[in-house]
Subunit: 337 residues, 2 copies
């Protein structure tokens, strides 16, 4: 096959390449902080934390902190510590999530709880969470501390809320959006908001970037929900159908249940109740999701949130950072199909 010489930029699939290139140099600084501050004289801490932290995550949230600073032309490095703090908070929640869900695979590797046990994952998560606050305190901005301590409380609330909704077929779209706004989007929003604070940008810029992050987080979560049914283990890095087998109410299921006939609803009730866990059941579920356009419409919902994220950036002049953040929002949706 001959290479096309003049590819239009719009013809290629959106990716995170521009975002990664934009923040590459700053990310070295963030990675240094992460590696240095996950150390402890207790050897199990860096061993377990390193498994997850070095384990192929995208560093999506720190990238957002760095790109937001770049968007504002912030020349300093204070945000490196804060981006590391955000990643520590995220890592702590992943460690605890995997305990809560009893997950065995994450980012294509065995989970920490499977290797070192639930107790170690709980306690190392607590350590990383405390260390995140130490990093923020070292930075010394009470405003940043307020943003991130509040986000942390909201995340935990969202996680408990989701736990309560688990295996509850009655969970509706609004309730679900509340849950993911808290458990996923709050940290995306906070990651974007800390940079205007350290850059001493306007309140308007702060709110715009928070709005970008919040909507981007929802778009990412909704496309994750689709990928869990539509992808394979290699792409996803975790087992496909995990949400299904865990009885998780996600938007595709909520739509398919609402739109299904009596038989379909009986199936979903049993499935979410934990009585349908075979591969055949998963195949049937995926078929119902397609028949009812639940996957396509979840992607469409994700696209709306991505658009809102992009619109939130309207006040900022064109720049590499703005282009990279825009493409990240497109990527959040495009990766699901």
């Amino acid at each position: 096959m001959t290479a096309t010489v003049h590819t239009l930029s719009t013809s290629r699939a959106p990716s995170l390449d521009a975002l990664m290139a934009l923040v590459a140099s700053d990310m070295n600084g963030v990675n240094s902080v992460i590696l240095e501050r996950m150390q402890s004289k207790v050897a199990l801490i860096p061993e377990l934390a390193g498994h997850l932290i070095a384990g192929g995550g995208k560093r999506m949230r720190p990238m957002l902190t760095l790109a937001s600073a770049s968007l504002l032309g912030y020349p300093g490095t204070r945000h490196h510590k804060l981006a590391a703090a955000v990643e520590f908070i995220h890592t702590a929640t992943l460690l605890h999530d995997d305990v809560v869900d009893g997950s065995g695979m994450r980012r294509g590797k065995r989970t920490a709880n499977l290797i070192w046990g639930n107790p170690a994952s709980v306690l190392v998560g607590d350590f990383l969470f405390s260390r995140a606050f130490e990093l923020m305190v070292e930075d010394g901005s009470l405003k940043v501390l307020k943003i991130l301590s509040h986000a942390s409380a909201v995340i935990a609330e969202g996680e408990v809320d989701q736990l309560t909704a688990q295996r509850r077929i009655e969970t509706d779209e609004d309730q679900y959006l509340d849950i993911i706004s808290a458990k996923t989007a709050a940290l995306f929003a906070a990651a974007c908001r800390v940079s205007p604070v350290v850059a001493e940008a306007s309140e308007e810029a702060e709110l715009a970037l928070e709005c970008y992050g919040r909507n981007l987080g929802i778009a990412f979560q909704l496309s994750d929900d689709v990928i869990d049914y539509a992808s394979d283990t290699e792409t996803m890095g975790k087992g496909v159908g995990d949400d299904f087998r865990d009885g998780k109410m996600t938007l595709p299921v909520i739509l398919a249940y609402a739109r299904g006939d009596q038989d379909d609803r009986a199936f979903w009730r049993a499935a979410i109740g934990g009585e349908r866990v075979s591969d055949d059941d998963l195949a049937h579920a995926t078929e119902l999701l397609r028949q009812t356009d639940a996957l396509a419409d979840t992607i469409e919902r994700a696209r709306q949130y991505a658009r809102r994220a992009i619109d939130a950036l309207a006040m900022f002049p064109a720049s590499k950072a703005k282009a990279a953040l825009t493409e990240a929002a497109e990527f959040a949706v495009a990766r699901a199909y």
Copy 2:
């Protein structure tokens, strides 16, 4: 029996009565903050948190914050929020501890993890921990935030360290003191240190109160270790012999193992390895602890730490607060025999 008219104060057993009376009025303020700030629109959070928070704990750490403020003549109420934050951090670690240890009883009640499951306990612990930081941020002292975020990281480190030492018969006295200095004494020390910060007392007063708290914490932990072998469920509020059955290396076991003959050591190795969990095994363990004076000498060690705690108060003039803190240190030891 006729009441003795002139009881010498030295003739009665030390108690926390003076401390409780000293802080009673302030504690109402702290309890209001606790009750108000453990609320959430997610009903499971106040339900689960309330089970433990309202469940008969002594509020030892908040009492220390309040008594330290009283010692310094601090007239304000800023420390109410901080005392509540300290109690939230403590409650979060208890929730996670019970998950880590698989405990079924705490303060004479079924544990939260037994009633609501491990996932809920992990996540509500995370919420309380985040809420603690929100309270501190509202207070606005970066110095207090530094003290408590560092203490939290040290606690988590100590917990992981203890997890590593669990079922390791080789753990020695120094290692064990490192563990309890981190997992127990760090929060006692921080609880005492925040008050001189808000009272704007001297650095010397800060360090003296921290020293008091740290040594008091060690004394409490060592007497807890004795009580776990020497008490009954009613006194302790948890099952006697829990440490034994969990294979926990505590100072009594460390001393008994070091002093035992070949047969005794073989027994302890098997017991700590999890192969001796019957009531007869516990009775034999307790007998070995008595034969080797391990319980009496652990109490003696605790007494030394309590004396150091009392000596740390030397710089403060006589007051009700000083007398109450002194008696609390005596109580820490006396409750174990």
